[in-house]
Symmetry: C2
Subunit: 652 residues, 2 copies
C-alpha cells in the first residue's frame, strides 16, 4: 500500500512547482501486512520519456520513505512511488534470527537457493547472473550450514540481490503526480515596471526605441525583468482623461488597458510606440543585458477593438443589443468590454486568446504579466498555460490577481508561475510575520510563488504617501529580502513619487492616463540603495527561494527581525528593519540560534551588507538601534567564528 505521497497539490490534481537544478524530495508511506521487509523506488521522468528514471527510496521512520532527485530540464515532469516486498531481505532477516537461536536452517537455505536462482534468471546473462547462480548452487550444496548462510548473507550477495529484485508484484502509485519544472527566473526575479511612452524627450510620446535607451540603467540597478504595461493601440470611445476623468481631451493618450483601435488589437503595437519589429528588437536588446522583457496581457477590449465588429459572438450583449461593458456596480468602465468566456463561442475565443501569447512568444517574449486573471475562468487558464508550456516550458506567467485568498491560490495551482500578493498592505510586524508564514510554512510553498511589489501604477499605499524616504527604503528592503521575487513600478518608486489623489491610494497625475516626465538624474533617487539590494540578492543564495525563513523575537514592536537560509545552510542572512519611518528604534534581538545553525555559546560575525559594519556577536541576545533618517534596515551576512588550534581566528 502506498499512501500520503508528498509533495502533492490537492492530491495530485495540480502540479507541484520546482526550478531546474533544485532537488525534489518525495516522501510516501509504504505499508504491508505482517513482518515482510519492503523496498521501493521513486520513479520520475520528463513527460513523454518512454521509460521511468528511478532512485531507491530510503526508510525514514514510522513507515515513511524518502528519495530525492534533481530535475535536469525544464518542462512537465511526473513522479510516482513504487514499492515491493523485498524477498531477499525478508529471508535474510529470518535466517539471521534463526542462526542466532541455533535453529535448523536447512529448509531456509533451500528457500534461499530458489531466491538466488530466480534473481540469476532476472539478471539475464553475464557476470551478475553467473555469480547469483553460483550462490544458489552453494546454498544447495551439502556442507556447513553456517558457512553456506554466511556467503548468502554477505555484503556482495546482498548488493547483487538488491540490484535484481523481484518486482513482479510491485505496487506502483497511479496516477503519477505532476511536477512543473521552471527556469530559475520563475522563482528568483527582480522586476522593473515602466511606461515606455513616458521615456520620450520631454513632452513627446516615447517609443519602444526610447525605452531601449533605459535598459542600461535598469540592468545596472540589478533587475532581471523589465515589464511594460500593454503596448497595443488604445481605444478612443469613452477614453479616460487625466486622473481617470470621464472625458478625455484630444491630446490625452488614454489608458493602455483600453486595448484596441482602428490600428489593431492584442497582436498589434500602438503606432506611437513603434512596431512589432521594435518589440523583437527590445526583447533582444534586453536579453543582451541580462534582462527579460515582460509584456502585460489584459484580456479585455476597448469598444474600438477589431474583435468587437469581427467577433460579436465573443461579447455579452445587453437587452438593447449593445455590448455589455465592464462594471462592478456602481462602478462602470464604459471604455472596457470584457469577453464572454463561457458563451456559446467560447472555444474560438479561447483559441484566439491563446494565440495572443503565441504571437508575442514568436517575437522573443518569454515573460507575461497577466492582468486580472481572477475575472476569467480558472479552466481557461489551466488549459491555456499548460498547453503553451507544453511547447514553451521556458515561459513565465505572473498573475496580477488582488482578490480573495483561495481564488489567488487556485490561479497559482492552475499554472501561473508567480503571483502578486497582499504584501502591499502588510505593514506591521505581526501582519508581515503571519503573512510570510502562511506562504512558507505551509503547503502553499509547493505551488504559490510570491512576487512582492511595494507599489504599482494602481496602488500608492498610504504608508508611501506619508512615510517619506525611510518608508520607501523599508518597503524595498522587506520586499527584496522576504520574497525571492519582487518588483517596483518605476521611476515613480525610485524617485519617491508620493502624491495621491486626495483620499485614495491612487497616484495623482497617474501615468495610466497621461505621459509623465521623470527626472532620472535626481540626486535623491533611490537608485543606489535599490542597486545594493539587488546586488545582495544575487550574491547571497539564501535569498533565491522563499523557504528558509525564520522570524526572531525583538522586544520592540517597531523592529522586525528575520533570517534567511539557503537549503544547504551555507548562506545565512539576518535582516533587521525599523518599521517606524520617523523615529530611531532600538531594542534587543532574541535570536533563534538553532534556526541560524549557530551554537548557544558560539561567537559569530554579523556583517551589515548595507552599511558595511562588522559586529562580533555571541549568544542569542544582541542590541540594535536603527535611525530611519540614516538607514532603516540592516542586512547582516552571518559568518561563524572559528578558533583554530593555533588560536588564529577567522571567519568561514
Amino acid at each position: 500500500m502506498i499512501s500520503d505521497v508528498r509533495p502533492a497539490v490537492d492530491g495530485g490534481r495540480y502540479p507541484v512547482k520546482r526550478v531546474v537544478g533544485d532537488p525534489v524530495t518525495v516522501e510516501a508511506d509504504l505499508l504491508v501486512d505482517g513482518h515482510d521487509r519492503l523496498a521501493g523506488a521513486l520513479l520520475y521522468r520528463l513527460r513523454g520519456e518512454p521509460a521511468w528514471r528511478e532512485v531507491p527510496l530510503e526508510p525514514v521512520e514510522n513507515d515513511r520513505w524518502r528519495a530525492m532527485f534533481v530535475p535536469d530540464a525544464i518542462g512537465a515532469w511526473e513522479v510516482a512511488v513504487t514499492g515491493w516486498v523485498d524477498g531477499y531481505a525478508t529471508w535474510a532477516h529470518g535466517l539471521r534470527r534463526k542462526l542466532e537461536a541455533n535453529q535448523d536452517v536447512e529448509l531456509e537455505l533451500e528457500g534461499g537457493a530458489a531466491l538466488f536462482a530466480a534473481a540469476a534468471a532476472r539478471a539475464g546473462r553475464g557476470q551478475a547472473s553467473d555469480r547469483l547462480m553460483t550462490l544458489a548452487v552453494a546454498l544447495r550444496t551439502p556442507g556447513d550450514a553456517r558457512a553456506r548462510a554466511g556467503a548468502a548473507l554477505a555484503g556482495d550477495a546482498a548488493s547483487l540481490m538488491r540490484a535484481h529484485p523481484d518486482r513482479g508484484a510491485a505496487t506502483v502509485q497511479e496516477p503519477p503526480l505532476p511536477l512543473t519544472v521552471d527556469p530559475p527566473l520563475a522563482a528568483f526575479s527582480a522586476w522593473y515596471e515602466m511606461f515606455p511612452r513616458s521615456s520620450g524627450a520631454e513632452g513627446k510620446h516615447g517609443t519602444l526605441r526610447d525605452a531601449e535607451a533605459r535598459l542600461d540603467d535598469i540592468a545596472d540597478m540589478g533587475f532581471d525583468v523589465v515589464y511594460l504595461p500593454p503596448i497595443h493601440p488604445i481605444g478612443r470611445t469613452h477614453r479616460k482623461g487625466r486622473d481617470n476623468s470621464l472625458v478625455a481631451q484630444p491630446s490625452d493618450p488614454g489608458s493602455p488597458w483600453a486595448i484596441g483601435g482602428a490600428e489593431g488589437g492584442h497582436k498589434s503595437v500602438h503606432p506611437q510606440l513603434g512596431t512589432v519589429e521594435d518589440v523583437r528588437h527590445l526583447a533582444a536588446a534586453a536579453r543582451a543585458r541580462g534582462l527579460e522583457l515582460a509584456l502585460d496581457i489584459a484580456f479585455q477590449t476597448s469598444p474600438d477593438h477589431p474583435y468587437v465588429k469581427e467577433h460579436p459572438e465573443w461579447f455579452v450583449h445587453r437587452a438593447d443589443g449593445s455590448v455589455q461593458f465592464a462594471e462592478n456596480p456602481p462602478k462602470r468602465y464604459e471604455d472596457i468590454y470584457p469577453f464572454d468566456f463561457a458563451g456559446p463561442a467560447w472555444e474560438s475565443l479561447w483559441n484566439e486568446l491563446r494565440s495572443v501569447f503565441l504571437h508575442w512568444i514568436a517575437q522573443g517574449v518569454r515573460v507575461f504579466r497577466v492582468d486580472n486573471p481572477h475575472t476569467k475562468p480558472i479552466p481557461f487558464w489551466h488549459w491555456c498555460i499548460q498547453s503553451i508550456k507544453a511547447d514553451h516550458p521556458e515561459v513565465i506567467f505572473l498573475a496580477e490577481a488582488f482578490t480573495r485568498p483561495k481564488l489567488m491560490a487556485v490561479l497559482a495551482k492552475a499554472g501561473f508561475s508567480q503571483s502578486y500578493t497582499y504584501f502591499t498592505w502588510r505593514t506591521s510586524k505581526w501582519e508581515l510575520t503571519e503573512y510570510i508564514r502562511s506562504i512558507v510554512d505551509t503547503d502553499v510553498k509547493e505551488y504559490f510563488r510570491p512576487n512582492f511589489w511595494p507599489n504599482t501604477p494602481d496602488i500608492l499605499p498610504e504608508h508611501l504617501q506619508y512615510g517619506g524616504r525611510a518608508m520607501f527604503i523599508t518597503r524595498a528592503a522587506l520586499a527584496a529580502t522576504l520574497s525571492s521575487s519582487w518588483g517596483i513600478y518605476g521611476p515613480a518608486f525610485e524617485l519617491m513619487e508620493h502624491v495621491a489623489r486626495p483620499g485614495s491610494e491612487e497616484y495623482a497625475s497617474n501615468e495610466k492616463y497621461q505621459l509623465r516626465a521623470w527626472d532620472q538624474s535626481s540626486r535623491d533617487s533611490l537608485r543606489p540603495i535599490i542597486k545594493r539590494l539587488n546586488q545582495i540578492r544575487r550574491e547571497n543564495p539564501a535569498l533565491e527561494r522563499v523557504t528558509g525563513t525564520s522570524f526572531h523575537r525583538t522586544d520592540n514592536e517597531m523592529l522586525i527581525c528575520y533570517s534567511r537560509r539557503s537549503a544547504d545552510g551555507d548562506s545565512r542572512l539576518l535582516v533587521v528593519v525599523n518599521l517606524d519611518p520617523h523615529n530611531t528604534q532600538s531594542g534587543w534581538l532574541d535570536l533563534d540560534l538553532y534556526a541560524l545553525g549557530i551554537g548557544a555559546d558560539e561567537g559569530f560575525q554579523a556583517h551589515d551588507l548595507i552599511g558595511d559594519g562588522r559586529y562580533l556577536w555571541r549568544g542569542a541576545r544582541n542590541f540594535v538601534s536603527l535611525d530611519p533618517r540614516a538607514m532603516p534596515a540592516q542586512i547582516f551576512r552571518l559568518r561563524r567564528h572559528m578558533r583554530t588550534e593555533t588560536s588564529f581566528e577567522y571567519y568561514l
Copy 2:
C-alpha cells in the same frame, strides 16, 4: 470549482465513519472567477437510493461553505457537494448597487424579467410558476423603475427564485465521498471478555450454557458486549500445555486460537463447549439482557484443521513439502498454520473466510473481534468487511492489531469499526495526553474508533502487576472515561489477578492454556466500581464519543485532569485521576474554563459521581487531593451556578 471537501479519509479513498443519528457536517471551498454570487447544496444518500437528498450549503467565511445532515439509517452512504452561480443573487446585488447610485436600470430590469421567466418555466405549472411569471411581466411593464425593482428584490420573490435556481451549469463533485453509518454500539460500548470454559462447576470444563449463567452479572456491571475467545475445536498436534509449555499433558485443553480438529473448524463449536445451537441461544439470551455476543475470529488453523487436508492450496508449503507453520524468527508457533492469502488459490480462500463471518451472522452474532488482522492483507479486509456490511450494515468488527501506527490506521480505514490501541502501555500524564490528542484532535477521529483495554489475556502490564487495587481502579477509570469504548478481560480484571510469569507481561497460569476457577463472590471484587463507571458512562452523553476532550493543567505530574463535553455542550464531566497508586497526591487544577463553557468568574458545582461529594467552585484554580487507598479518581459532573432574581440559588 469545488475543492477541499471535508471530512474525507485519504481524499475519499476510504469512508468517513459516523453513527446513525449523529450529525454529519460537511465543508467545502466553492470558488468562481469574478464577482458572481454562488449557491450550493450538500447532496447525500444511502448508497443505492435513486436520487440525492439535499440541504443548502451556507457560507462560513473565506469561500468556505458548510451544511449538516443527520443520517437516519445505518449503511453505506455517499455525500457530494454541488455549487452553481446564483444568477438571481448576482443580478439583485448589482441592481441594488445601481439603485443606490441612482443609475439607469431599465436594461437590468429587462434582464431580470428573463431570469424570472426562466425560473417560472423551471417551476412547472402551479402557484409558484404563476407568481414568478407575474413578477417577470411586472418587470417588463413600463412604470416606476424603483417600484418594479422593489417587487423583484422583495423577500418572497427572492425565496421563490432560490427555490427554482438554474442549476444547468452546476458543478457536482465527482466522485462522491463514502460515509459508513454504523449503529451506536460501534462508537460507544463496554466490553467484557471471558473464557466460557472456565465458567463450569469447579474443575469441570465449562459450556456455553454455563457461560449463559454469567450474563446477568455482566449485564449488571453495565457492559454492552460479552466477548468470547474462539469457541471452535482445538487442535492436538503440537498443542501447547500450561503456561505456554511446548508439551501438553493429556488433560490440557489447549489454546482456543489453535483452531480446528477432527471435530471441525471455524464453523464448528468445540464439543466440550456445546453446539452451534448453543451459540444461537447464547446470542439471544445476551440480547435479552441488552448485551451483544461477540465472537473472536482468528484466521489461522491448527495442523489438525480440516482445511489442511481438504485445501492444501490455502497454505504455504516448505521445501520439504511440510506446511509452513507460523513463525516470527526465532519464535516458532508449530501449533499454528497461517493461510496463504496471496497464493494461487487466494480467491477460494477469501470466499471461504468471508463465509465464516456469514455463518456466525446467520446464528445471530453481530459483533466480531478479529485476531491479528495486521498479518493479513489490507485488500482482503477491505473487500471482506465492505461486502459483508453491504448486506449486514449492523455488524461491528473490532481489530486486535497491536502493530505499527500506520498499519493500525489503515486497518481502521479499510473498514474495522473499532480498534485496539496503545492505551495499555500509556501510563504517564504526558503519554496519555499526547496519545489521546493524536486521536481526537486530528483527522484520525474520522475513521479510527479506539477501544481501551487495561488488560487482555495476552497482556498483564507491569503497572497492574505491582500497582495494587488503586492501579486497577485507575486504569479502569481512565479507559472508561477517555475512550467511548473500553473493555476488560474478566474475571481476571475485577478480581485483580496480577501474578505474571516472571520477567514478562503475561499472566501466570494463563487461561489461554488451562481452565481457571474464579471466585466470583470475592468481597474484594472491583465489580461495584466497574458497575459505577459503566453507569456514569450511560448517564452522561459527554462520554458517548471520543470528541470533546480537553486536558487541563495541574501542578502535580501525578495528577491528570481532563474534561469531556457532549457535542451540544449540555453534558460536561471533569475527571481527575491520581496516577500514583501508592501515595496521596494533591495539587491545584488550572482549568481551561473556556473549554468547559464556564465564565471566568462564574460559580459552578462539581459533583463527584464516584464519591458523591459536591463542591462549589469559582474560577480556574481549584485544589484537589486524592488518596489512592480510598479512591484514586474523581469524576465530577459540572453544573453551572445560577442565581435567580429572587436570590434563590439552584443548579442546572
